[in-house]
Symmetry: C2
């Protein structure tokens, strides 16, 4: 766990507690974004006893300071979270049959963002981009 994580938390008036360490730890070791309840289940399996409410609150803090990214996939009905810290901005693809989520280590939106700002006079701060379809196994 990088030392700047502690600093980032402190800078926002937060502490790096055992709970937050455990949440970051699970997210660091998982290769796809987890929902709050999935994260909760993994913590329990690891014999880390943290209330689901605390998982939600922890994710909110980590997201607000930018250590974690919140991802909402189409029609999933629940948010997912993955480590942002030290990783490149990227997007995802999800299988409509089995639910598998894979990273797309790219972002094709630089030029189109500039174009949209020019056309709409909005200032663009964020975007969401997700693909869905059938994974190799489910075709």
């Amino acid at each position: 766990m990088h030392s700047t994580i502690n600093e980032d938390l402190r800078a926002a008036g937060h502490r790096l507690t055992r709970t937050r360490r455990a949440v970051l730890d699970v997210l660091e070791r998982t290769k796809y974004p987890l929902s709050a309840s999935e994260l909760y289940q993994r913590l329990q399996r690891n014999k880390v006893s943290i209330d689901l409410v605390t998982v939600y609150r922890t994710l909110t803090v980590l997201r607000d300071i930018g250590l974690v990214a919140q991802i909402e996939l189409h029609q999933e009905g629940q948010a997912r979270f993955e480590i942002q810290h030290g990783r490149e901005h990227h997007h995802h693809i999800r299988c409509q049959t089995c639910g598998k989520i894979a990273d797309l280590l790219l972002c094709p939106l630089k030029k189109i963002t500039a174009f949209i700002e020019k056309e709409t006079k909005f200032i663009v701060n964020e975007h969401t981009l997700e693909f869905s379809g059938l994974c190799p196994k489910c075709q």
Copy 2:
């Protein structure tokens, strides 16, 4: 209201009822995607008495046969719906301050979709793309 709407419904074993007509009517006249409860409120204002549950069920039917598009904007916590029938596929931008939603009458993802299919071996069926930022008034 186009005649093929009735045909599309019938083909899926549904009827074009007064209720569905009213829902489509409101959506046709609105320039941005509406949530179920916003739609419900507008129906009431128009003296059309339809239960909120029926609004949800109607939107599900219309979405499933492709007459209506379901849109989920980042962190909004509720789905929105807009007319798809007879309109071009497009995307949206939302103001983080006032919530204003504007159409982006474009889709920049043809090439990148082909690239992703080649790289991941997924078959891509859908994508979501939304931008957010500050509208001209809120800057």
